[in-house]
Structure formats: C-alpha cells, structure tokens
Symmetry: C2
Subunit: 117 residues, 2 copies
C-alpha cells in the first residue's frame, strides 16, 4: 500500500501544474499523466480530480470545452489568464514548501549523538 496520505493538499497544485503546461487537457488525461510522471506513486482518483476541476472552474481559474472524440464525450479544461497566474503562484509555493519539508526531515537522526560508546 503506497503512502497516499501525503498527497492531501497537493493534488490541486499538481492539476494546476499540468494545465499550465498544456493548452487543454481532459480529466482522464490528467489522471493518466500524473500516474505516468510519478511512476504510479501519486494517484489522482476521479473522486478527487473532478471536484477539484469543478471548483477551479467555479472560481474562474479554468474554462471548459466539450468535444466528441471517437463518439465519446470529452471535456477539455484550460486555464484562464488568472488561472495561469494562480498556477504559477501555487507551484512556486509548493516547491518552496517541499524544500522546507526536506530540511525538516533531514535533521538528525539524533544529530550530535553518534559519538557515544
């Protein structure tokens, strides 16, 4: 069982990151891309993904266009201008946070205590 708990809070920013790299993407594609990039370590389930997309849309950060591809409905999501700005901010903040977290996790183990015996 992969450690899913750590993803919490980062999913939205990952979605924003992918959308900032592509003119338009659809839900399934986003989910696959995350699996691919993370070598299946990070999974973006639909139950998590679609609510995120709806919320970003309701906030005016992305727009949707529907297309029929191979007879199947496909809904594309694209960042708006404010969405692009927001995405840059979030990604930058997450990178910063990640570095800080690594610092916190790096200290020790038992710094300065390895001289005993």
């Amino acid at each position: 069982m992969k450690s899913k708990e750590f993803i919490k809070g980062t999913l939205k920013t990952i979605v924003l990151k992918l959308l900032s790299e592509n003119e338009k993407m659809y839900g399934y594609e986003i989910s696959r891309k995350v699996s691919e990039l993370s070598k299946d370590e990070i999974q973006l389930t639909y139950g998590a993904l679609y609510p995120i997309l709806y919320k970003l849309e309701s906030e005016g950060l992305l727009t949707t266009t529907s297309e029929i591809v191979d007879n199947r409905a496909r809904k594309y999501y694209s960042l708006t201008d404010s969405g692009k700005t927001f995405a840059e901010e979030k990604v930058s903040q997450l990178q910063q946070f990640t570095e800080t977290l690594m610092q916190v996790l790096k200290t020790g183990p038992n710094t300065m205590l390895n001289f005993e015996q």
Copy 2:
C-alpha cells in the same frame, strides 16, 4: 498568508520524526520545534497536534509521562519500540514522496514549446 494546505497529511510524520530524534518531548515543545526548523513556514497548531498525539498513543506508538515543571503540568511523549520502527518507515516514505513530487513539479514549463514564432 502562507500556504498551509500543503501540510495536510504530513503533520503526523513530522511529529514522528521529531520524536525519533528526542527521548521525550511535550506538545508545546514539538509545536515550537516545527516552527523553528521550518522558519515558521510549517505551523503545527494544537488543534492538529494533540489529536495526532492521542491517536499515536492509542495505537501504542507512544507513551506518556506527566511531570510538574515550574508548577505547570507538562506531558511528555516518547516513542515505543514499535513507534520507532513506524517512525522510520513513515519518514522514509515521506522523503520518497517528496522527491517524486519534486520531479512532477519540475517538468516543463511548456517543455519543447518555446520554439514557436
């Protein structure tokens, strides 16, 4: 406003990490230490911290001892043997996750698309 959302899911592991470096710590101390190590970027509020500690205790991963210091009650938390093993696992998993996340965030921006025009 600092990006607090990213912390979700990582708090427990941060607590475990600190406890694995110290024989015993009390709640307030843990909270302060996280602020210090992260230069105030990560905040462990009591509403988050104490429920985490209670849960770890109920799972047998840590034990508590109460002391009176300067007339004030102070409750120390220490990892049990299984707690130490668990802490190592969690920290290692979080480090792995963090590296994966950085890889995902690193790709792009707009790889291969900067030749247009």
